[in-house]
Subunit: 340 residues, 2 copies
C-alpha cells in the first residue's frame, strides 16, 4: 500500500480534467437551468422537457450539477441552491452569468489554442484570423447586450468595489472619477459609503444611459454624473481621486505608463490614484488566478498583461507619484494606491 | 460587509473558469515541461528557450505552474514537484500524461460541444461529422502510440487494480481472466499479490506484444498468458474469476447485458465476475466524477453510459448471478462483484 506521504496523481488528474465540471456549469448557464428553476422546484420530466434536454443524458447532466452542488434534489424535484439562485438567475440584478456566458461562447474555445499563444505570443480570439473587428466593437454596438455584459462585470466586481469604498480614507477628499466605469458600480459603492463625495463615471459615450440608469436606481443622480471620454486619446477629469479597475492589465507597458501619466496629470495636488486588478503577489508564486488572468490577456489582447504590486508601484514612482502602497481587497483582487 | 454565511459567487466563478488551470496543465504536458525538468532544475532563460516559449508570456506560464503547485521555483530556477516528476516525466514508467495528452488533443475541444450533445444525444468526437473511423481504430493501427496509450491507462488504473488484488477473496479461486486487459496491469497486480493464481489477459490481438512485455517485466510469464479475442463477437475464457475494468460503461444497455451474460456463461460454477468503473453512488448525488464520466461517454460513444452499483447488481441478478455486492476501491472507482 502507498503511505499517506507518497506522491499521488490525484491533483494532476483532477486539474487536467477540470474542464469537465467547468464546461458542465457553462452549458447549464447557457441553457438557462438556474433561471428556469428560479420559479421553484421542478420534477425531472418537466425540467428536462423545458430545457430541451435529450433523454439520453438529461439525468446525468442534472445529477452532475447536484453532485457539484450547483443544484439540490429532493425526491424527483430539482431546485437551485441559494448561490445559484442568487447569482445565476438571469431575472435578478445579482446575475453574474454574463461573464460565464462570455467564457462559454468565446474563451473556452480560444483557450484551446493556449499552446499556440505561448509559442507565438499572439492573441487567439476573434482577431486570430487577421480580422480587424474587436469583439468589443460588436458588443458596444448592441445596447441590450452591452447592458447585460456591463451588469455582469458589476456583479463580479462588487466585492472589490465595496472594499475600496471603505478602505480608502475618503474623508480627505471631495471629488473622484472612475475611469472605464462601465455600469458604474465602483462609483456607486463609493458614493453610497461616503455621502460627502461627488463622483464622475468616465467611459465611452455608449455607456451613458446604462450608467445613468444604475445611478438613478441608487438615487445618486445628484452626486454622480457621467462624462463621456476615451482614455486612450483624451485627458482624464480633474478630481481628488481617480480609480481604475480591471483596466490597466488590458494594455502593454507603454500604454500602461501612458495611462498612469494621464492620471498623474489630471489629479488635483495631494490627490490619489487607485488602481485595482487581480494583482499578482510580488513573489509571483501565490495568486494563480492573477497569473492566469495574464495568460487570458495573452489570449485576448496584443500586448496586455497582469502585474505585481511592486511593478505598479515602480511605474507610479517613475512617473512622479511621491508614495504608493498595495492592499488586498477580496479574492484575487488587490489595489495599488499612489499619492501625488 | 457580507456575513460568512451569505451566498458567495466564488465557487461559481472558480468552476466556470476552471478550464484555465486545466488547459494550462494540459499545455504544459503537451510541451514537455515536466520531462524537460526531470533532468534537473533549469533557470528561466534556459527552460523557456528549450521549450520554445515566446518571451511575452513565458514567465506567466511557468509561474502559473508554480502557483498551481505543479512546479517549484528557487531563485530563478524552476524544478518539478515530487508529483509531477513521478507522473509527468515521459521517460518514466510511472508517466500518466498519456491520458492528459489525449484530453488535450481530443476531449478539450469535443467538450466544447457539450450543449449540442445534451440537446441531440449524439457523440461529439471524430465521428461527429459522420466519419466512420473510430479514433481507436487509428490508435490500434500504430503500435508505438498504442503502447504509450495503454501504459497511460495502466498508470491511472493502478490504484484500483492493487485494491482489487487485495479485496477479493482470491484464496477461493485458481484461475482468472481480465477482459479488455490492455497492457495487463490488473492481471499483473492480481498475480503479484496472489502467487497461487494463473491468469489470462484477453484483448484484441494488437495488444499481445504489449501485454507480454509487461508480464515479462514483472517475471510473470509462467502464470500469465495472453488470449486474443473480441468480447463483442467471441466468447470469454472459462475461468473461476472474470474481471472487466473501465469496459462496461462504453456500451449501451443491450450490449452491457450481453457482456454480463457472456461473463456468466463463461464462468466456472461458483465463480465470480468483478466489474469496475467510476461507479456512481446509488443516490446519484456524490460521485461527480462518475457522473461526468457518463457525460464523457455521451461525447465519445453512440450509447455508452456510467451506472450505479444498484443498476449493475440488478442487471447481474436478472441474468442469473445468485448474489452481488458493490465495494469502493480508490478515488471515484468502485467494483461490483457477482457470484455464479
Amino acid at each position: 500500500m502507498t503511505s499517506p506521504s507518497a506522491p499521488s496523481a490525484e491533483k494532476i488528474l483532477q486539474t487536467g480534467l477540470a474542464f469537465w465540471p467547468s464546461k458542465t456549469l457553462l452549458s447549464a448557464v447557457e441553457m438557462g437551468v438556474f433561471t428556469e428553476l428560479a420559479q421553484g422546484p421542478q420534477n425531472f420530466d418537466e425540467l428536462s422537457g423545458r430545457l430541451g434536454l435529450h433523454p439520453r443524458s438529461a439525468r446525468d447532466f442534472l445529477d452532475t450539477l447536484v453532485a457539484l452542488k450547483f443544484l439540490a434534489r429532493s425526491g424527483d424535484a430539482y431546485s437551485n441552491t441559494p448561490e445559484t439562485d442568487l447569482f445565476l438567475d438571469r431575472q435578478k440584478s445579482s446575475y453574474i452569468g454574463g461573464i460565464l456566458e462570455m467564457a462559454n461562447s468565446r474563451l473556452y474555445s480560444f483557450w484551446g489554442h493556449l499552446t499556440e499563444a505561448l509559442r507565438t505570443g499572439r492573441p487567439q480570439n476573434e482577431t486570430r484570423d487577421g480580422s480587424d473587428e474587436s469583439p468589443f466593437a460588436k458588443l458596444y454596438a448592441d445596447p441590450a447586450r452591452l447592458k447585460s455584459f456591463l451588469a455582469a462585470m458589476s456583479g463580479i466586481s462588487r466585492g472589490a468595489n465595496i472594499a475600496i469604498a471603505k478602505k480608502i480614507l475618503w474623508s480627505r477628499y471631495k471629488t473622484y472619477a472612475d475611469i472605464g466605469t462601465a455600469q458604474g458600480d465602483l462609483a456607486v459603492q463609493i458614493a453610497l459609503a461616503n455621502p460627502h463625495l461627488h463622483g464622475i463615471g468616465y467611459d465611452l459615450a455608449e455607456c451613458a444611459p446604462i450608467f445613468e440608469e444604475y445611478a438613478a436606481a441608487h438615487s445618486l443622480n445628484g452626486r454622480l454624473r457621467f462624462q463621456p471620454g476615451d482614455f486612450l486619446t483624451q485627458s482624464l477629469p480633474n478630481v481628488d481621486v481617480l480609480t481604475m479597475g480591471h483596466i490597466l492589465h488590458d494594455w502593454n507597458l507603454d500604454d500602461k505608463k501612458m495611462l498612469i501619466r494621464k492620471a498623474y496629470d489630471a489629479l488635483n495636488p495631494g490627490g490619489a490614484f487607485v488602481v485595482y486588478d487581480a494583482i499578482i503577489d510580488d513573489d509571483r508564486s501565490q495568486n494563480a488566478f492573477g497569473l492566469m488572468m495574464s495568460l487570458n490577456m495573452l489570449i485576448e489582447t496584443p500586448g496586455g498583461f497582469d502585474y505585481t504590486g511592486a511593478d505598479c508601484i515602480s511605474w507610479m514612482k517613475e512617473i512622479g507619484f511621491r508614495d504608493a502602497y498595495v492592499e488586498h481587497l477580496v479574492g484575487p483582487d488587490s489595489m495599488v494606491v499612489g499619492f501625488k
